[in-house]
């Protein structure tokens, strides 16, 4: 493998003349967990919306494992191995948890429409493997008892866990998590962190956008800091914590070691 797993070069995005992201370049190496932080309005969400295909970028290119994904549709990103979650957690409310996970997996097992329609042996094998994997994942995120219940019954934190499990079902190479622990209680944060570590141990790299700085510092091998759409710092959490520009722009008093989660 030459170069990083995921690479963004010169990303730019403007809304009606306001610069949301400018000249942003970064990389996520294979197997790493990278954090993306910054104050509100610093361009984090815009960045991940662009590089997952949900918003057109004004400039810049991005590559996953050497293959260019610039300008491609969201489902093409997912097919290539880049899956994202959403800040406003999304789930198929009326479907069971097991079906939520099965849907997430079904575009990735290579079984075509015709095989699906005539219920071919390949389809049955694939669906059985999916069901098994879904069962394991629900076990890991602690939602196994609700496997047959509709997703609508889950609490906010549980929905975030389901979203991570669903992302894992797509056999991702890179998972982009949009605020995985925002508004979630401390117990649930620990469960989400465990799920993320498990996802990483299974071989996926992660790019995590989060406001909870302690959570990011604890989890990530490297952290990128944005301010007003520009990258102002990048490096391991220890160095970011000491960086004067970061302290001034974002972390403020919270950056003292006491803030470690």
């Amino acid at each position: 493998m030459t170069g990083p797993l995921f690479e963004v070069r010169g990303l730019g995005k403007h809304y009606f003349g306001v610069t949301a992201v400018a000249e942003l370049s970064f990389a996520v190496p294979e197997g790493e967990i990278v954090g993306l932080i910054g104050p509100n309005g610093s361009g984090k969400s815009t960045t991940i919306d662009c590089v997952s295909g949900f918003q057109p970028a004004d400039s810049g290119r991005w590559f996953l494992a050497g293959a260019e994904l610039t300008g491609r549709k969201p489902h093409t990103h997912a097919a290539a191995g880049l899956v994202r979650t959403f800040q406003t957690v999304r789930a198929y409310d009326r479907l069971s948890l097991a079906d939520n996970l099965a849907v997430a997996a079904q575009a990735h097992d290579g079984v075509g429409w015709w095989a699906a329609l005539r219920a071919s042996p390949a389809l049955r094998r694939a669906e059985r493997a999916t069901a098994e994997r879904a069962g394991e994942l629900l076990e890991i995120v602690g939602l196994a008892e609700y496997a047959e219940a509709p997703a609508a019954i889950l609490s906010y934190g549980q929905r975030k866990l389901l979203a991570i499990a669903a992302a894992m079902m797509t056999r991702p190479r890179l998972v982009v998590l949009d605020e995985p622990v925002a508004g979630v209680n401390p117990t649930m944060i620990r469960r989400i962190e465990a799920a993320i570590r498990r996802l990483n141990a299974d071989g996926a790299a992660l790019l995590i956008v989060e406001h909870n700085v302690g959570f990011i510092m604890n989890l990530c091998g490297s952290v990128i800091v944005l301010e007003q759409g520009r990258k102002i710092a990048e490096g391991p959490p220890g160095l970011i914590r000491e960086d004067r520009r970061v302290l001034a722009a974002y972390l403020g008093a919270e950056a003292e070691p006491a803030a470690d989660g």
């Binding site: 969201p74 489902h75 997912a78 099965a102 079904q106 669903a166 079902m169």
Partner: protein, 321 residues
């Protein structure tokens, strides 16, 4: 498990009862009603597939129906093609046009599809009336002869009388229902529902909404087109009224009252609402007004349709006291 056995038995009994209708009734009125019900069940199940499952409001179903009717009629009259070949050609043309309007409008949004499908249906109506050299204008194509099916070993089956035509449409409707049932119960149907429930999530998981929606449009265009291609040979005429908004309205009522996304709910509503206009025939002037009133009451009392009611009963039964 026992629920599956029960529903299989229920379907078998219903099919046997419907198929044996000519044995225990000779009422032409009943056969006419049965033919209407079969046609509307096919049309509303097609609309349910597109609207109820994938979330696309389509006004083009009547256009597919009429295109099938005109194609089969013109091919039979001008080229001497058999009814069945003509109906299949009509279904094929409907698929092609359905894919064209679907592909072009869905690149924008599903609201664009609703508007384009409506315009397409109106365009078909105008063309059928004004492109006289092709469609023979407001007079329509008449003198259509009943289909004849030559079966090896069995001789010729003629469908010129209501009981025979009723059996033909019943078989066709059952084939369509079996096909669509298979589709929506497969994981393709699961993807349809996922797209309708949360399109961005489905996209983020690698599901291409456009491809799935085009599949649903193509299937419903074909089944509606073939239904039109067969039905006009029972009417013995096809004229611009086959594109009438009445069909669209009736299909929508059946799907909404049946419960969008509920397979059996829509089938039940199709049967019920095929009978209601005939039951209301005593008052020709108020017929459609009363029909509208029934729809409004149904929406107030059953917001999720028959299907929604059944689902909430199931939920209530599953919940421990």
């Amino acid at each position: 498990m026992s629920a599956r056995v029960f529903s299989a038995a229920a379907v078998t009994i219903a099919v046997a009862a419907l198929a044996s209708l000519p044995l225990w009734s000779s009422s032409p009125y009943l056969f006419e009603l049965g033919i209407t019900a079969a046609v509307f069940t096919v049309l509303s199940t097609g609309l349910n597939l597109v609207y109820g499952y994938t979330g696309l409001l389509s006004f083009a179903q009547v256009a597919f129906f009429g295109i099938g009717g005109y194609t089969a009629a013109l091919l039979a009259v001008n080229e001497g093609l058999s009814v069945f070949a003509g109906a299949l050609a009509g279904g094929g043309l409907a698929i092609l046009l359905g894919l064209v309007i679907g592909y072009t409008s869905l690149r924008l949004s599903r609201h664009a599809f609703a508007i384009v499908s409506l315009s397409f249906a109106l365009l078909c109506l105008i063309l059928s009336r004004d492109w006289v050299s092709l469609t023979r204008g407001p007079m329509g194509v008449h003198g259509l002869l009943a289909p004849v099916l030559t079966l090896p070993g069995l001789g010729k089956l003629r469908f010129d009388r209501p009981p025979e035509f009723y059996e033909l449409m019943l078989v066709y409707a059952l084939v369509v229902l079996a096909l669509v049932h298979r589709l929506v119960r497969s994981r393709l149907g699961r993807a349809f529902v996922a797209i309708k429930l949360n399109q961005p999530l489905a996209e983020s998981q690698g599901i291409d909404p456009l491809r799935y929606r085009l599949l649903a449009i193509a299937v419903s265009a074909f089944t509606s087109g073939v239904a039109g291609g067969l039905y006009v040979f029972h009417l013995t005429i096809v004229d611009p009224s086959i594109f009438d908004f009445y069909y669209t309205e009736t299909m929508l009522i059946m799907v909404i009252v049946g419960g969008p996304g509920s397979f059996w709910g829509v089938v039940a509503a199709s049967l019920a609402f095929s009978a209601i206009p005939d039951l209301l025939r005593f008052t020709t002037d108020l017929r459609m007004v009363l029909y509208g009133a029934v729809l409004i009451v149904a929406m107030l009392v059953l917001p999720g349709g028959f299907g929604g009611l059944a689902a909430s009963r199931r939920r209530a039964a599953a919940k421990p006291a």
